[in-house]
């Protein structure tokens, strides 16, 4: 059987975490190809719907990323992200998806390494955990 290859959705803000992901690339930091980045202007734009939709469609993990608290390009919009994330996390746990499958990380434009490490860690962890209960791999 083919090794379980998790699918991870990452939401990145235009100013910091997307740039951090760029820097990981520019610095040639290698990480596994399991992550799909969706760019929004600000982490504040990340509707809880997007996260739930990702799990519904079959994501094994979802990463919510943005500028560090205090660095937000939109003053403090990422505070809202943080608040939303907390209730999302509870909800995911309640749903039995496993709260570890949702991760919030603040990544600046200079933290390419942090981005790469986040992906590496998540892939490793999810591989150990196995597919999400909502994953089509499980449904079959």
């Amino acid at each position: 059987m083919k090794e379980f290859d998790p699918k991870i959705v990452a939401f990145c803000c235009n100013w910091c975490s997307y740039a951090g992901a760029d820097l990981a690339g520019v610095s040639r930091m290698q990480y596994p190809p399991n992550v799909r980045i969706i760019k929004v202007m600000c982490s504040g734009r990340i509707d809880p719907l997007f996260v739930l939709m990702s799990f519904l469609e079959g994501a094994d993990a979802v990463l919510v990323t943005g500028c560090h608290i205090g660095d937000c390009h939109y003053i403090d919009a990422n505070h809202k992200t943080k608040n939303r994330f907390e209730f999302l996390k509870e909800m995911i746990a309640e749903l039995g998806i496993g709260e570890e499958r949702l991760r919030l990380e603040w990544i600046s434009a200079t933290e390419g390494e942090k981005f790469a490490d986040m992906v590496k860690e998540t892939v490793e962890k999810i591989k150990k955990m196995g597919p999400s209960p909502l994953s089509p791999k499980v449904m079959q």
């Binding site: 820097l23 520019v26 610095s27 040639r28």
Partner: protein, 429 residues
């Protein structure tokens, strides 16, 4: 009083100055001697300390500059005469014939493959590959227009036959253009020092001793080897490289000044080698490690710790060659262990001095400005007016006024644009 501006030199500094001025709504003439803009930065593979692909970040700027409605880009052209004063300069520009109608040429390159003579050294690729008598200066050239090397052309006419656009005109005449500008910004850049006079390093005698700029083309994906580090003697990848700093710089017999960029340049080149070939051994021979810019020291630390680059504090005495393997052999005083050592490597890269560009004296004479003792443009007030030349209304920026790296050149270019705008505003008031 006119407020158009002439920018001389189409490297990154000249491009940036032009874009800034044009952004203000001023009309700019950008004159470049080479048939494409882009300058030396276009020849680099990656840039330190971020590892950005040089042409990737420059190409958008080249395009922005060339297609800007306020900028007239004149390539393959030279400034031949300047009269008048700040606010009212009359400038004669010689547009040399490229024997191709720039408007008609689509840059398709059909003529390039039709030319039967393809043994001339390609200037852009540091003569590491040959080009034909009709050629496009380089892959990402702007404008992407062919040019005929009439000195070697035998006028067989193949190119004319194949060109559907009818762009080729082998009898094109030089054209003299006169423009009227209020200020002039000079950004004519630098050249790489020719190290063949430093006999002990064997450049020109040993095939596997090359210069840093040649190395850039060798590791560049769009370079003559497609990015494979094929050393000249046998087209094989060496398993070790030594980079030698201060070749022709910090040397009173050649150029007494520090070229300022080579320590970082070599560090980057070593990192590139390691990235391309993980088993590569890299050595950098230096006198003082000059990692004084933003993020530079950290970059050097990474090179040491993550990329296993060996920094050796020494200026080698001489380089010889192993006759069998053609491996260069470096003889040096390892000043830290105080032992004379011999190091055999697969390739030696000489990080040569960067010197004022050829023709700077003639240009200075045309402009009526002074040069300093190292033949860089002289600065009126080195503290508070670091971009003003010795003549009012003429600003100088980038490497042509002293050693500096790309961000500093870009900074100065923007600064010179602001100074030009300021000079024009003050004259207009």
């Amino acid at each position: 009083m006119v407020d158009d501006v002439l920018v001389i030199g189409g490297g990154v500094a000249g491009i940036q100055a032009s874009i800034d001025l044009a952004g203000r709504g001023l009309k700019v003439y950008l004159v470049e001697r080479f048939p494409s803009i882009g300058g030396k930065m276009a020849q680099l593979d990656k840039t330190f300390p971020t590892g950005d692909c040089s042409i990737c970040i420059l190409a958008p700027k080249m395009m922005e500059c060339f297609s800007h409605e306020n900028i007239d880009v004149l390539t393959h052209a030279e400034v031949k005469g300047v009269s008048g004063n700040a606010g009212d300069f009359r400038v004669k520009i010689l547009k040399k014939p490229r024997y191709v109608d720039e408007e008609k040429c689509t840059g398709c390159g059909d003529c390039v493959s039709a030319c039967p003579y393809i043994n001339l050294p390609d200037e852009f690729d540091m003569a590491l590959r040959s080009r034909g008598n009709i050629f496009i200066p380089f892959l990402q050239a702007v404008p992407r227009v062919v040019m005929v090397d009439r000195e070697h052309c035998v006028k067989c006419g193949n190119c004319q036959v194949i060109c559907d656009a009818g762009a080729i005109d082998l009898y094109q005449k030089p054209e003299e253009i006169e423009i009227h500008v209020g200020a002039i910004i000079v950004a004519c850049g630098f050249d790489s020092f020719d190290p063949s006079g430093i006999k002990e390093y064997g450049y020109g005698r040993y095939k596997n001793v090359i210069t840093a700029l040649e190395y850039e083309r060798l590791v560049c994906a769009s370079g003559p080897t497609g990015g494979h580090l094929d050393r000249p003697s046998d087209k094989k990848t060496p398993n070790s490289i030594a980079f030698i700093q201060c070749v022709g710089s910090r040397d009173v017999n050649h150029n007494p000044y520090c070229s300022s960029v080579c320590c970082m340049h070599a560090t980057k080149e070593a990192i590139l080698a390691k990235e391309h070939y993980p088993s590569m051994e890299n050595y950098i021979f230096y006198t003082d490690m000059r990692a004084f810019g933003k993020g530079f020291q950290e970059y050097v630390d990474r090179a040491k710790n993550e990329y296993e680059v060996r920094y050796i504090r020494s200026k080698p005495g001489e380089i010889t060659e192993d006759k069998e393997t053609k491996n260069p052999v470096i003889w040096y005083d390892d000043t830290v262990t105080r032992q004379v050592k011999r190091l055999e490597v697969g390739l030696v890269v000489l990080c040569t001095a960067l010197v004022p560009s050829k023709g700077i004296k003639e240009l200075a004479d045309v402009l009526g400005v002074e040069l300093d003792k190292n033949r860089f443009f002289k600065i009126a007030d080195p503290l508070y007016a670091p971009l003003d030349s010795s003549r009012e209304g003429i600003l100088v920026c980038g490497y042509c006024q002293g050693p500096k790296d790309i961000p500093e050149a870009v900074t100065q270019a923007k600064g010179a644009a602001a100074r030009a705008a300021e000079v024009l505003a003050c004259l207009g008031a």
